[in-house]
């Protein structure tokens, strides 16, 4: 049939809502980092207020998904709905982490700046594309792109450890900057968690489009390696 069935329309409504939620989450992270870097108190405040919107989206997506599940969908429809619920949860947590970053940004904007802030933007510039990449893979039905994202999480973890060491060092040498350093540690931690959530989304996208569960295998990039095993007929 050329036109959509009612069920297909409901599925595409679900997808749309999820993508709207995703764009809110991405914007929240971007704004929180900008507020941090530019020491923008008002922007930070706005991010915190917007988090309520993201929370409501999670509830709505879950409700739509449950109602759709009652209709006993199968195969790719079933995977889509299950994955939608998981992605919405990950996005909600991303929103919470963005909120935390914005809280630290607010605090830091009241304190005098310190020199080491330069690494945080670099970490943000690695994290944000991960999130965007995972969501783009979802929209573009591109599991290969999703697989490419997963190894980047390791880099973020290493960067986080580096920043910790640098900040710890700085704190011991300049005790008057302890407040700022502790706040920056929290920010780094939040960014690392956002990268984790982006990785989760990427794994869910692979499950959706390849019907293969690659969580907790650590190897995502190449099919043929133990994490990306032989293709299954349902893929």
């Amino acid at each position: 049939m050329a036109t959509q069935t009612h069920f297909e329309k409901e599925l595409s409504d679900l997808k749309e809502k999820l993508l709207t939620m995703a764009s809110h989450a991405e914007t929240a992270v971007r704004n929180a980092v900008a507020a941090l870097v530019n020491r923008d108190y008002d922007l930070a405040q706005r991010v915190r207020e917007e988090d309520g919107v993201i929370d409501r989206f999670e509830i709505e997506v879950d409700e739509m998904a449950i109602n759709l599940l009652a209709k006993a969908p199968l195969a790719s429809d079933l995977r889509l709905i299950a994955v939608a619920m998981k992605i919405s949860q990950n996005l909600e947590r991303v929103g919470d982490e963005a909120s935390k970053i914005s809280n630290r940004a607010r605090e830091l904007s009241q304190e005098p700046p310190i020199k080491l802030a330069v690494d945080i933007p670099r970490m943000a510039n690695l994290t944000l594309p991960m999130l965007k990449g995972a969501l783009d893979a979802f929209v573009n039905q591109d599991p290969a792109a999703a697989r490419a994202i997963i190894p980047q999480d390791k880099e973020i973890d290493l960067l986080n450890k580096e920043i910790y060491r640098a900040l710890a060092n700085h704190m011991s040498q300049h005790p008057d900057t302890i407040t700022q350093c502790l706040n920056l540690m929290v920010v780094a931690k939040s960014l690392e968690r956002i990268a984790d959530h982006a990785t989760n989304v990427a794994e869910d996208v692979v499950y959706l489009y390849e019907a293969r569960d690659i969580r907790h295998t650590g190897k995502g990039s190449v099919p043929g390696t133990p994490g990306g095993a032989a293709p299954s007929p349902s893929a």
Binding site: T5, H6, F7, I66, N67, A70, K71, A72
Partner: protein, 272 residues
């Protein structure tokens, strides 16, 4: 018999919106039905609003088909049937002696479990109800028949063979033909008694999609054994057991969190 307050009153209750609480199109109060000494329906009370799809679910023999047939008084055809309580359609008691049952059946149509097209041409099948109402001009008949077949998602498949027998169609097509035949006379309410139970999954899906489209113009009550079907197409669901109405509410509530344990057991397949 005196005609027919039912004809003069519009079956569209004014200001009705979707919901059992709003101005109800079908209102059942204290309905009990007896086949001789056997009680098939026990004190049923609920109401159905306009232009929604309501599903009746329940195990075999729970009375859902019997209740459905009360709405167009098809139970009159059976001997020894006794009714207590009232069934009101558009605020009219349909069992009162002033109501002309023929007029009632023109406003409340029915589609049966086993498709039953007449052994006539496709055209004549759909025209049957129209001719009963005195529509004879060919142009008018042609227009209504085409529209009904389109609404029943059958037009494209049969438009070149309207003069062949209705019995030459496949099972799913025959059922859609019966639906077209029923909607041709523009009833306000359509009753469907397990319309897809004899069809394969593809034909079933087409009939379900059809019902979702018809919802815009008709109030539909459907009896079904298939709970996923009820979840897919209905707005409200009523669960019956042994002649009683156990639970009635919005479909997504009944299927995701029913209030009654019996409903939960039936819906999850733990009994019945």
């Amino acid at each position: 018999m005196a005609e027919i307050p039912l004809q003069k009153v519009s079956l569209r209750a004014p200001g009705a919106n979707k919901g059992p609480a709003a101005a109800a199109l079908i209102d059942v109060q204290g309905l009990s039905l007896f086949y001789g000494a056997n009680q098939a329906l026990r004190n049923i009370s609920f109401s159905i609003g306009e232009k929604v799809v309501t599903a009746f679910i329940g195990p075999s023999g729970c009375g859902k088909s019997t209740l459905l047939r009360c709405f167009n008084r098809m139970n009159d055809l059976i001997d020894n049937v006794r009714i207590e309580g009232t069934v009101r359609i558009a605020a009219q008691d349909i069992n009162s002696p002033e109501v002309d049952v023929i007029e009632l059946r023109k406003r409340v149509g029915m589609v049966f479990q086993k498709s039953n097209p007449f052994p006539k041409t496709i055209y004549e099948n759909v025209a049957y109800g129209l001719r009963l109402q005195g529509v004879t001009r060919k142009a008018e008949l042609d227009a209504i028949i085409e529209e009904s077949l389109r609404q029943a998602a059958l037009w494209d498949e049969v438009k070149d063979r309207l003069n062949t027998s209705g019995l030459g169609l496949s099972g799913g097509q025959q059922q859609r033909l019966c639906i077209a035949r029923a909607i041709a006379i523009r009833p306000e309410i359509i009753l469907m008694d397990e319309p897809a139970s004899a069809l394969d999954p593809l034909a079933t899906a087409r009939v379900e999609e059809l019902i979702l489209e018809l919802k815009k113009d008709f109030t539909i009550v459907i009896v079904t054994h298939n709970m996923q079907q009820a979840a897919r197409i209905s707005d409200y669901t009523a669960f019956f057991y042994l002649g009683q109405l156990i639970e009635y509410g919005p479909t997504n509530a009944i299927f995701t969190h029913p209030s009654n344990k019996q409903t939960e057991d039936y819906v999850t397949g733990r009994f019945g």
